[in-house]
């Protein structure tokens, strides 16, 4: 067992690095998109509801199916994986971002408006800091979900820890199956723990 880890260190470390890369790029793009959509939803309230509805439908599509659906459009590989992962994250992020911002006490918002703060000033100086907890929760859920679903992305040649797992399954190599699972699962669990600590 440990033999595999030492002998194939270069392989799994490369897969691990790929995995981290996929997660980082996905998160960056997801947060950018979700922030833009959230700002839109702050101006037009219905937009938030519609977006959450749409993305909740997308979120309910099994990941393997969604990866397959995108292959004719964007082909095999990491790009397709990242697009799908960004789409999945929108539900987790938007739901937390929009509800978090909307849950700020209306009296506080009325006072802020009445004092002559602009909409952007209220968003940045009042709503964002007060919704910090919800924003962070959304982020943590998105990170953990991305780490998990990115494993499956190996099925469309996106690389990452899933590739070890799928290799193992194809060749019936128990070591690869176990290590792929342990690394992917461990990555998700450890990250979740760290982020939960940070949240407090």
């Amino acid at each position: 067992m440990t033999n595999y880890v030492i002998k194939h260190a270069d392989k799994w470390m490369k897969a691990f690095a790929e995995h981290i890369w996929i997660v980082l790029i996905t998160l960056l793009l997801s947060v950018l998109l979700a922030s833009a959509l959230t700002i839109g939803a702050m101006y037009v309230n219905v937009l938030g509801k519609i977006l959450i509805q749409i993305f909740s439908v997308i979120y309910s599509i099994p990941s393997l199916a969604l990866f397959a659906l995108f292959i004719p459009l964007t082909g095999l590989g990491m790009d397709t994986a990242i697009i799908v992962l960004v789409l999945y994250n929108q539900y987790l992020l938007l739901r937390n971002f929009i509800t978090g911002l909307n849950e700020v006490d209306p009296a506080i918002l009325e006072a802020a408006t009445g004092m002559g703060m602009t909409k952007v000033q209220i968003l940045v100086q009042v709503q964002l800091p007060l919704a910090r907890k919800a924003l962070f929760t959304g982020l943590r859920l998105a990170v953990v979900s991305t780490i998990g679903i990115a494993t499956i992305a190996a099925s469309i040649n996106a690389g990452g820890l899933g590739s070890i797992l799928f290799d193992g399954l194809r060749t019936m190599n128990v070591y690869k199956i176990v290590w792929g699972a342990v690394l992917a699962g461990g990555f998700a669990i450890v990250t979740n723990e760290i982020l939960q600590k940070l949240e407090k």
């Binding site: 009296a107 006072a111 408006t113 009445g114 002559g116 602009t118 100086q125």
Partner: protein, 254 residues
């Protein structure tokens, strides 16, 4: 000089069958302390919120110091008007000093000037600056929170203060204290105060003139003595009568 004029102001909310405020005309001189008295749903808060354009009237014009407010940039207008609400609405993530500094900061005042002003204001509203400036709103009592709310609204020295039932959620003893202090603050500053309340004692104690409202209309706008001696209609008369009944109740308790 006239501070505030309402010219034929009407406001109807979407899906309402009646005007919340109906054909209101009134004129307020600079430096007056006006209280607006009425039961809930009479339109008194709507009337107030049209002055800082949280609501827009459907008809009529509101003139502040000779200027039609619909022609002024709404953010600039609001920064010229102090606004205090019953729920206070302090920012819970900011200290007392930071709360008071909100608008001065938006206007890019210098740090020293902001600090000096916040000390001055805390003293004005009866809070020890050293003790309270670094506290968070959650560490204050309801009465103290509203004192900070008042200080925050006064920060950039607005000529007009709008107060929407500011003491409505405060216990009787502290409310009396705050009323007295508000009168003192008004007397010292020569500002125009508009104070909404449903408490007739509060309205008659604070206002040099009282607006009595019912069903979106102004029933009477006069000095407390004028209203007491010559109630304009049955509604006003019944309000006065209610205080007599209260007085009798207390006498009987003796």
């Amino acid at each position: 000089m006239k501070a505030i004029e309402f010219q034929n102001i009407s406001k109807r909310f979407a899906n309402a069958t009646m005007n919340a405020v109906n054909q209101v005309n009134l004129s307020i001189e600079e430096g007056e302390f006006i209280t607006i008295l009425g039961s809930s749903g009479c339109g008194k808060t709507t009337l107030l919120k049209m002055i800082n354009r949280l609501y827009e009237p459907d008809e009529g014009r509101i003139i502040l110091f000779g200027e039609d407010i619909s022609t002024v940039d709404v953010v600039k207008l609001r920064r010229r008007i102090g606004y205090v609400i019953q729920q206070v609405g302090l920012f819970p993530h900011m200290t007392v000093a930071e709360n008071i500094a909100t608008v001065p900061k938006l206007l890019k005042w210098e740090k020293e000037k902001i600090e000096e002003r916040s000390r001055e204001l805390l003293q004005l509203v009866g809070l020890d600056a050293e003790e309270y400036r670094n506290r968070y709103p959650a560490q204050l009592s309801g009465g103290q929170q509203q004192r900070v709310g008042l200080a925050r609204a006064l920060a950039i020295n607005p000529k007009i203060m709008l107060l929407d039932e500011p003491f409505g959620a405060i216990d009787a003893i502290n409310r009396m204290k705050l009323q007295d202090e508000l009168l003192k603050i008004h007397g010292g500053l020569k500002k125009t105060f508009l104070f909404v309340t449903h408490d007739i004692n509060e309205a008659f104690k604070l206002g040099n003139r009282v607006i009595v409202m019912n069903e979106g209309k102004i029933c009477q706008f006069d000095t407390p003595r004028g209203i007491k001696e010559h109630p304009a209609d049955e509604f006003v008369a019944s309000l006065i009568e209610s205080t007599r009944e209260q007085k009798e109740f207390w006498e009987e308790l003796k």
